[in-house]
């Protein structure tokens, strides 16, 4: 009996080993593919144009060169762009989560009538290509005097992001433990209090994941900000990066430097909140 088991076990282990290696190799390859463009950006950010012309994009820089970074920093007035991006993305993240929360509370926990068609409508806002929304939004924002204002971008993205947030949170909340809500009700909590003192603390992880996603998604947006933010001093970081792309020529080293500068804030943001993120994802899996 025991002998048989050992045989089986070692057999299984032996069968697994090559597969493990293969999986590991695939994972490493996948990671390399993801990291490669990042590495290229870093590599070329510190290379002088001369160096680039002689050696191409793949060679290590012969010496560290910071002019690309400083040139972009100054030409784009980077601190202003950075502040604009942070302001817009944080406002959207906070407002988007709030709106998603209210919607999902009504749809997922409140089980409002016709919630399925409603959810579909919300999803539509997310699935429509932004190009299709552009002209109506442009006309509307001009009519209310929000064209060339950061608030137009904040409002638009709050709606778009919260559409997705509503969908996700609603499905999370429809599995929300009823007992908790009933207990709160027995204790005399109204809807408002159960929302803030039961629902929000329990689903805090999911909410913070949404917050982080909304922030990063909004940060990386290009089309709508480029349309609605006309003046240079209102524009965001991705627009500043795009400003370097010429019509026929590109300045590879400065563009890399700008991409690096544009990427660092989201990277820092991600690293800071990375623990919340992983915890939040697993929390979502709990009933």
């Amino acid at each position: 009996m025991s002998g048989r088991r050992t045989v089986r076990n070692t057999g299984r282990r032996n069968a697994r080993r090559p597969l493990d290696w293969v999986l590991l190799a695939i994972a490493v390859l996948g990671a390399l593919v993801v990291v490669a463009p990042l590495l290229l950006i870093v590599l070329n950010s510190f290379k002088s144009p001369d160096d680039y012309n002689q050696g191409g994009p793949l060679q290590l820089p012969s010496h560290l060169y910071f002019d690309g970074l400083t040139r972009f920093w100054e030409a784009s007035d980077f601190p202003t762009k950075l502040w604009n991006s942070i302001f817009i993305s944080s406002m959207v993240a906070v407002l988007g989560v709030l709106v998603s929360l209210f919607n999902a509370y009504a749809l997922g926990i409140g089980r409002a009538r016709g919630r399925l068609p409603l959810l579909v409508v919300f999803l539509l806002a997310n699935m429509l290509p932004q190009e299709a929304l552009l002209y109506p939004l442009y006309t509307m924002s001009k009519a209310v005097g929000l064209y060339d204002s950061q608030w137009s971008v904040i409002i638009i993205f709050t709606v778009i992001q919260s559409a997705f947030g509503t969908y996700l949170l609603t499905s999370v909340y429809s599995g929300f433990p009823r007992e908790l809500l009933e207990a709160a009700e027995i204790d005399g909590a109204g809807r408002w209090r159960s929302l803030w003192q039961v629902v929000v603390p329990v689903s805090w992880q999911t909410l913070s994941v949404l917050l982080i996603f909304f922030f990063i998604w909004t940060w990386n947006e290009f089309l709508i900000p480029t349309t609605f933010l006309v003046s240079n001093d209102k524009q965001t970081v991705p627009l500043a990066v795009a400003a370097l792309q010429g019509e026929k020529l590109m300045d590879v080293t400065t563009t890399s430097a700008s991409a690096l500068l544009g990427l660092i804030p989201t990277l820092v943001f991600f690293l800071v909140f990375q623990r919340t993120l992983t915890r939040g994802v697993t929390a979502g899996a709990v009933k």
Binding site: D50, N53, K142, L239, A243, G246, L249
Partner: protein, 441 residues
Amino acid sequence: MRSTRCALGAVMLAGALAMSACGGSSASSDSGDVDTNVDGKGRTLTLWHYEDESSAMGVAWAAAIEEFEKETGAKVEFEAKSFEQIRTTASQVLNSDKAPDLMEYNKGNATAGLLASQGLLTNLDGAVEAYQWDDKLAPSLQTTATYDDKGVMGSGGYFGIPNYGEYVEFYYNEDLFEKNGVKVPTTFAELEEAMAAFEAKGITPLAESAAEYPLGQLWYQLAMTKADRDWVTAYQTYTEKVDFSGPEISYATQTIKDWVDKGYISKSATGLKAEDAGVDFINGEAPMFFSGSWWYGRIVEGAKFDWSTGLFPGATMSPGSSGNLWVVPTKAEEKDLAYKFIDITMSPKIQNLMGNHGGVPVAADAEAITDEKSKELIANFNTLTEQDGLGFYPDWPTPTFYDELNAGLQEVVNGTKTPEAVDEELGGLYQDGVDSVTGGS
């Protein structure tokens, strides 16, 4: 002043038809319209362009701003824009009260032509007459400045003023030529000899890219060596049907095929971008590079060898055109200031400054250019414009032809299709595109 604006507005709104109507109702509305004496005290000109501040245009226009402020007393509020942003949002911005008074915009039917046909750009006929800019612009430069009411270039009123030009020419690595005992070609036969000589020594003579514009421009250049001006006009402005199996295009495609077979163009060009081809030349690997004058500045900065430029040997026409245009939005508030600014950028001082920084000014005095290489660049351009040799670009006629042409030529380079098959396919795609532009007529 007020009447000027009213008249211009009327012209704009109704296009070419209204122009004659306006002229009829008020006798002096054409030339009397624009006063060249502009007092700018206490006024502001909002100006947008998307040229790099260190480029020839960037330098020249910065000087123009200074000159303008001194001359008129007005203030210039300049914003450097990105090409991408102007390209994607121009029609929205120009239709709002955020429109600038003057901006740089791309020439062409799909860009300036489209905006003009939508009524978003001011008709500049009055200003052209008052400032006599037409005297400074060669005919093939004026083509891209005028648009009809459908937005097709080449006829109708002025909707933009080009300040600089661009054209496609050969860049030769003189060191490599000398080292390998090859003569810099001056005729087409010598060009092929030179390429054969390099090939025999194991050097791929031409830096090429088929994934982007360079090979398409070479193809068009080859076609133009067999063509006359009427063919170019037909190809670009749809005045006649273009036969893609005719001598011009079949020669071009076949020659590309031959050059690939002989090893003058590397098969790997299919996957290369313009940037790759340019770097190939700049780092001294390829002896020849056929591309636009927009590379000039890069090569001045980057090339560590002796080099020279020359028009395509034996050709009287080459790909090229005016550069981007100054356009005045319909909603601009300070139109007379905008005109004045355009005029300053056309002045010899600013034009020569542009020339000395490696640009190709439209109205420079070649004598005043001190830099030897720049002189060559501008002399080549002047040669072209004097013989009416700016042939525009192969992808202009239809919005999708750029990608279609590149795809077709990639097949030729790969050897996956015969030149005849590619010509036939391109001819069909070209005709479909032209039909949709002209509404099938």
